[in-house]
């Protein structure tokens, strides 16, 4: 055991001639909020896609809690404890809010119920459905979405959709939660609110959170440590204050 809950070793991917990520050694300790930042096109979302199995890496390894995730599919990786949200929100738009969260609860062992049991409406089906609904409601309460639980996901305002996506990811009972630009498109008030919710998730669930964000005030305010990516490689990694004052980082952001 290396002491890191999420770790990558020499992770890299190239699309044809383009190397989108190269030799990325990400090290995320347990419990806390970590940032992944970098200029546009630095490869942040690519790293998320590599971690969650949406892309298969050309080189290197991904380790979650010591377990090798390399080569596994996104559904398997989620079941092993790595959940994510998307930069462009991906909800189940034709489902209600509460059902979106219930989809996240699907694979928890305590809600196991076979197809036959469901089709025949056996007692276990009824019990599991009731418990899932209750658990989903409890999760929605954390995000202040309880009142909206019977609305269609697509009818929610943007900020709430972002929160719902986090709630759904959290429902899968992950070891690490990956948030791709959670504050994008939010006003300062909503951002502040979101930061508090993310802190609450860390404290209540003992969660490890890795987030991509462009809002530097949000990152500085929230993250214990950050990793800076530039042109697909790690430029700096360390405590937020030190890294954000690093001249190389400032240069990468401002250019020059």
């Amino acid at each position: 055991m290396s002491g890191y809950i999420l770790e990558t070793k020499k992770l890299g991917i190239s699309f044809g001639g383009l190397t989108a990520a190269q030799d990325v050694d990400l090290r995320i300790p347990k419990e806390g909020i970590y940032g992944l930042i970098g200029p546009n096109g630095a490869g942040k979302t690519t790293i998320f896609n590599l971690l969650t199995g949406v892309y298969q890496p050309t080189t290197g390894q991904v380790l979650l809690d010591g377990q090798d995730l390399t080569g596994l599919g996104p559904d398997k990786i989620c079941r092993l404890g790595l959940a994510r949200t998307f930069q462009n929100i991906r909800l189940f738009n034709n489902m209600t809010v509460v059902r979106n969260v219930m989809v996240g609860l699907q694979n928890r062992p305590e809600y196991a119920c076979s197809v036959i049991e469901s089709v025949l409406r056996l007692p276990r089906h009824r019990r599991v459905e009731g418990q899932m609904r209750q658990r989903a409601k409890d999760l929605l309460r954390i995000f202040g979405l309880e009142e909206d639980r019977n609305a269609l996901a697509c009818s929610l305002p943007y900020g709430k959709q972002r929160k719902l996506e986090i709630a759904r990811a959290l429902a899968t009972d992950p070891k690490v939660l990956l948030l791709d630009e959670p504050a994008a498109g939010m006003n300062p008030h909503e951002t502040e609110d979101l930061a508090n919710t993310i802190r609450q998730i860390r404290d209540d669930f003992g969660m490890t959170i890795l987030l991509i964000e462009h809002d530097m005030r949000f990152v500085a305010d929230l993250c214990d440590q950050v990793t800076v990516l530039n042109f697909g490689t790690i430029l700096a990694q360390g405590s937020t204050q030190t890294v954000l004052q690093d001249p190389a980082v400032i240069k990468a952001y401002i250019g020059g």
Binding site: V54, R84, Q106
Partner: protein, 376 residues
């Protein structure tokens, strides 16, 4: 808070079919005799409903376009017909032979469903549609070119003559079974997984849903019920002709699903019934030279329905005169004494709000901007 009657509303189509079956069953068993053309129509309607509801599992809920549903039915019809032809001399012409051939037909179609489900995991949209289309045509020509001793070849497979008095009852019991299985599946965690795949496959994967398993499940189950419809067809007709199961028929089934509203089981039942009825009536009315008009009229009616349901210019008319508005009007004219008067204070428990969550997976359309009631 739960609106009274909301449970009944979602089982209305089920109760309706069950009630009709029960009434006709009692009449038949007490000795009433129906006209054979009416019985044949009832059998045809039952077959159409089974086909439409099973196809809606793949097209409406999983969101994959399949143009090979008649192919699965064809497999069921031939296998079921063959098995019954072999069994009837041994077991007699009773329910035993029927049930065994039913299992054989459904099983054979289910195996084909797995076979089509596997490419469905890799192909999407139009490409999958082409594969399923090809599957249907291959099945059709395989049976057409089979040797006369095995499956009758180009002349078709002769199936034994059955006592037709009771067949429609079996057919409607199978309709009830199909509706129950598909509906219970859809309204469960497994159904949520299937609709999640339709809504956003990448998000479904990222929620840990085993997309492979659920796609195969949907395709296999859908094919098995198409096989059931095929066995019924072989019992309903004295010969099974492979030409009947061309892509035209697949598209006809698809039309039933689309017309009923994608992802609506009651809709699929209703449109399957209407289309089958319309089809037979047109065939009966238009004889001689007018027979050529049948397909033309049929197509014109379909186009009219689709335009009526979708044209933006008719939206005002639709909003004013539809069943939902009518129901609302009726409810308003008979006020609920228990209704909360203080709307401002308790706006979220006003009983006229539609219980959205209960509605899900039964009716995808027309739920756009309604607000939810409370949870059950």
């Amino acid at each position: 808070m739960k609106r009274p009657g909301s449970k009944l509303k979602h089982h209305l189509h089920f109760a309706l079919i069950g009630g009709i079956t029960a009434v006709l069953g009692v009449l038949t068993l007490t000795g009433a005799r129906f006209d054979s053309s009416l019985l044949f129509l009832l059998e045809k309607i039952a077959i159409s409903i089974i086909l439409a509801v099973s196809l809606s599992l793949v097209v409406g809920f999983l969101g994959e376009l399949s143009l090979g549903h008649a192919g699965f039915m064809c497999v069921g019809a031939y296998l079921g017909g063959k098995v019954s032809a072999l069994l009837v001399p041994l077991l007699g012409n009773g329910p035993a032979a029927f049930l065994v051939s039913l299992a054989a037909g459904a099983g054979a179609a289910a195996v084909c469903g797995i076979g089509i489900g596997i490419p469905a995991l890799r192909l999407r949209g139009d490409y999958l549609a082409i594969v399923t289309l090809a599957f249907g045509e291959i099945v059709k020509s395989l049976f057409q070119n089979s040797s006369p001793e095995s499956f009758g070849g180009a002349l078709g497979l002769d199936t034994p003559r059955y006592d037709k008095r009771y067949l429609f009852l079996f057919a409607f019991l199978l309709v009830l079974l199909t509706v129950m299985v598909v509906q219970n599946l859809i309204r469960s965690k497994h159904g949520r997984a299937i609709t999640a795949i339709r809504d956003n496959e990448i998000a479904a994967l990222s929620c840990g849903i085993n997309v492979t398993k659920y796609k195969l499940l949907a395709f296999t189950l859908s094919a098995a019920f198409a096989g059931v419809a095929g066995v019924l067809y072989s019992y309903s007709n004295y010969t099974v002709q492979s030409l009947r199961f061309g892509y035209n028929y697949s598209i006809e089934i698809l039309v039933m699903v689309v017309l009923g509203g994608m992802g609506s089981i009651p809709g699929a039942i209703l449109s399957a019934t209407l289309i089958t009825f319309l089809d037979t009536q047109l065939a009966a009315i238009l004889t001689g030279d007018l027979a050529v008009l049948q397909n033309l009229l049929y197509a014109a009616i379909l186009i009219a329905i689709v335009i009526y349901n979708n044209a933006p210019a008719l939206k005002g008319f639709r909003d004013k005169y539809n069943l939902a508005a009518l129901a609302k009007k009726l409810r308003r004219s008979a006020p609920d004494p228990a209704a909360v008067r203080d709307d401002a204070a308790k706006w979220d428990v006003v009983p006229t709000k539609i219980d959205m969550d209960e509605l899900l997976s039964v009716d995808i359309a027309d739920r756009g901007h309604q607000e939810g009631g409370d949870d059950p």
